[in-house]
C-alpha cells in the first residue's frame, strides 16, 4: 500500500516536472523542473530497490547533466528569464493528439504484449555484485567505454585548443 502511494506520488511529480520543463519559456525554470523530474525518477529507482542506479541517477543527471545545462544557459542571453509565460503555439492541439496517438497505439500494446517476468521475490543486487559483473563478464565492454570516453575527452580538449589557435592565427593575419 505504502509503496503504491509512493509510486503514484513520484510518478505524478515526474510527469508534472517533465511537462513544466517542456512548456516553460523561462529556461532556468525549465532546467529546474527537469531536475525535479530526474529526482522523481531516482525515487522510482529506489522504490525498485535499485539504490545504486538511484544514486548514479542523482549524481549524473542532476549533478552533471543539469549543471551542464545551467552552464550552457548562462552563456546565452536568455539567462535573465524575463519571460514568465508558457510556450504556446497554435499547433499544440495536434501535438497533443500525436503524442496521445503514440501512447495509445504504440506504447500500450507494446507494454501489454511484452512478456514481463512476473515475480514476487524482490531482486536486490548489491553494489558488490554489480561491480563483479562489471569487472568479470563485461570487463571488455567497460574498458571499451572507458577508452571511448577518454578519446572524447581528448577530442574535446583538442577541439577547444584548435579553435583558439585558429583565432590567434586570424589575429596575426
Amino acid at each position: 500500500m505504502t509503496q503504491e502511494i509512493t509510486f503514484w506520488v513520484l510518478a505524478v511529480i515526474a510527469v508534472l516536472g517533465a511537462l513544466v520543463a517542456v512548456r516553460r519559456r523561462n529556461l532556468i525554470h525549465g532546467v529546474f523542473a527537469l531536475m525535479i523530474f530526474f529526482a522523481a525518477l531516482a525515487g522510482l529507482f529506489l522504490l525498485l530497490l535499485a539504490e545504486f542506479i538511484a544514486a548514479v541517477q542523482i549524481l549524473v543527471y542532476i549533478g552533471a547533466v543539469g549543471i551542464l545545462l545551467l552552464f550552457a544557459i548562462m552563456l546565452t542571453e536568455r539567462v535573465t528569464g524575463d519571460d514568465a509565460r508558457d510556450i504556446t503555439s497554435r499547433g499544440s492541439f495536434w501535438g497533443w493528439v500525436a503524442a496521445l496517438a503514440v501512447l495509445v497505439f504504440l506504447l500500450l500494446p507494446a507494454i501489454q504484449s511484452a512478456d514481463l517476468p512476473q515475480t514476487t521475490e524482490p531482486y536486490n543486487p548489491s553494489v558488490k555484485a554489480l561491480g563483479q559483473q562489471m569487472m568479470n563478464p563485461y570487463v571488455v565492454t567497460l574498458e571499451v567505454l572507458a577508452l571511448l570516453l577518454t578519446a572524447a575527452l581528448i577530442g574535446a580538449v583538442a577541439a577547444s585548443q584548435g579553435g583558439e589557435k585558429k583565432k590567434e592565427d586570424a589575429d596575426d593575419a
Binding site: T2, I28, H29, F32, M35, E51, F52, A55, V56, I58, L59, I62, G63, G66, I67, L70, F71, M74, V79, T80, G81, S126, V127, K128
Partner: protein, 385 residues
C-alpha cells in the same frame, strides 16, 4: 507503514536533527572566538545569561544571533524570482541535512531499533553522500540567479564552477578508500579501520586525506576557497540579497555541510568512531566521532584565519592541474602498495611502499607545482603593487 518502522525512523533521524544544529550554534561561537584571538581581539564576550552581567565568554551569542535573525525583516528584491528566492535557502539546507544520515554515527539507542533503517547501512552510502551533497550547488546557483543582482549571479556562477571542479578530486581521493575497504558501505568502511587501522596511517591514505581535505574546503566554500561569497569582491556573493531567516538557513546549511563533509573525512580516513576505551564504553564511539569532526572544523577555522583568498584562475588551475592528477596518481600508488604488501608480507615491504609512495607523491606534487608556476603569468595590477 507500521508503528515500529516510524519509531525506528524517528530514532535514526531526530538525534541528527537535534545534535548537529546545536553544534552549529556552538561552532559559530567557536569560530568567532578563534578568529578574534588569531587577530589579537577578544571576540564575543558580552552576551551570557540575560539580565545579568555574567558574560560566560559570550556563549549566549549564538542565541542572540538566532533571535536577531528570526526577527529581522525578510527583504525580497523587486525584480527577484519570488519562488526561487524562497526555495533556494530551503534547498541549500535539505541536502546538507540529508547527507548527515550517511555518516556511521552509532548512537547507543540504536539497539532499540527493530530494523536496519539507518542510511549508512546502505550498500552505496558513500556514492549517495557525494550525489546528494552535489545538490547544494544547485541551491547556490538558484539563490544567485533568483536574486537578480549581478553580484549574486557572479557568486552563483563562481560557486557552480568551483563546486563542480572540486567534486572530482574529492571523489577520486575517496575512491582509494573504497578500493581498499572493498565496500561503499559507510559502516563497513568504519569497521575495517577499528583498532587504529585508520586509513590516514597508510601512505596512500595520508596523501588522499590531504587532497580530500583541501577539496572539502573548496566544496563547502570555506576560506581560502570562499570565492562565491568573497566579501571584498562581490559583497556577499550568492546571498547578497538574503536577510533574516533565509540568510540564517543558508548559514546553517553551510555549517551542516561542513560537519557532514568533515564527518565523511573522519569516516573514510580517521577511523570513524574508533578510539580508546571503546571496549569499556561502546557509546564513546559517537563522542570520538564528533570530537574528530570538531578537530577538522578547528583546522578549517585556523586555515580561515591564516590564508588569503585565491584568485579565480588560481582556483581552477589548482583543481584541474594539481589536485586531479595528484589524486589519480595516488590511486595508482595505492594499487601498487596494496599488491606489494599482499605479495611480500613483512616490514621491508612496508618500509619500501611507504618510501616509494611518499617520495612519489612529493615528486609528483612538486613537479605539478613547477609546471603550473612556469606557465602562470604574474598578474598586473593598476594600483597596487
Amino acid at each position: 507503514m507500521s508503528l515500529e518502522l516510524i519509531k525506528d525512523i524517528l530514532l535514526a533521524t531526530v538525534p541528527l536533527l537535534v545534535i548537529f544544529p546545536s553544534l552549529f550554534a556552538f561552532t559559530t561561537w567557536m569560530e568567532r572566538k578563534a578568529l578574534a584571538r588569531i587577530q589579537n581581539r577578544i571576540g564575543p564576550n558580552k552576551i551570557g545569561i540575560p539580565c545579568t552581567r555574567i558574560g560566560l565568554f559570550g556563549l549566549g551569542q549564538p542565541a542572540a544571533d538566532g533571535i536577531k535573525m528570526i526577527f529581522k525583516e525578510d527583504i525580497v528584491p523587486r525584480g527577484a524570482d519570488k519562488l526561487f528566492h524562497l526555495l533556494a535557502p530551503i534547498l541549500a539546507l535539505i541536502p546538507a541535512m540529508l547527507i548527515l544520515c550517511f555518516l556511521p554515527l552509532e548512537f547507543p539507542w540504536g539497539k532499540f531499533m527493530s530494523g536496519q533503517v539507518q542510511a549508512f547501512l546502505l550498500d552505496s552510502a558513500v556514492i549517495f553522500f557525494f550525489a546528494i551533497s552535489g545538490l547544494a550547488t544547485l541551491a547556490i546557483f538558484m539563490a544567485g540567479w533568483a536574486s537578480r543582482n549581478k553580484y549574486s549571479l557572479l557568486g552563483g556562477m563562481r560557486a557552480v564552477a568551483q563546486m563542480v571542479s572540486y567534486e572530482i578530486p574529492l571523489v577520486l581521493s575517496a575512491v582509494v578508500v573504497v578500493m581498499m575497504a572493498g565496500s561503499l558501505n559507510a559502516k563497513e568502511i568504519a569497521d575495517v579501520q577499528t583498532g587504529f587501522n585508520w586509513f590516514v596511517l597508510t601512505p596512500w591514505g595520508l596523501a588522499a586525506f590531504i587532497v580530500f581535505f583541501v577539496a572539502a574546503l573548496a566544496e563547502t566554500n570555506r576560506s581560502p576557497f570562499d570565492l562565491p561569497e568573497a566579501e571584498s569582491e562581490i559583497i556577499a556573493g550568492y546571498f547578497t540579497e538574503y536577510s533574516g531567516f533565509k540568510f540564517a538557513l543558508f548559514f546553517l546549511g553551510e555549517y551542516i555541510a561542513m560537519f557532514a563533509i568533515s564527518g565523511l573525512a573522519v569516516t573514510l580516513f580517521l577511523g570513524a568512531g574508533d578510539g580508546p576505551f571503546l571496549a569499556v564504553a561502546p557509546w564513546l564511539s559517537v563522542v570520538w566521532f564528533i570530537a574528530k569532526i570538531f578537530g577538522l572544523i578547528a583546522v578549517m577555522i585556523w586555515l580561515r584565519g591564516t590564508l588569503p583568498r585565491l584568485r579565480v584562475d588560481q582556483l581552477m588551475a589548482f583543481a584541474w592541474k594539481f589536485l586531479l592528477p595528484l589524486s589519480i596518481f595516488n590511486i595508482l600508488l595505492a594499487g601498487m602498495s596494496h599488491h606489494v604488501t599482499v605479495a611480500y608480507p613483512g616490514t621491508t615491504a612496508q618500509v619500501v611502499t611507504w618510501t616509494v609512495s611518499l617520495v612519489g607523491m612529493y615528486v609528483m606534487a612538486k613537479g605539478l607545482d613547477k609546471i603550473s608556476r612556469s606557465t602562470a603569468k604574474p598578474r598586473e595590477y593598476l594600483y597596487a603593487e
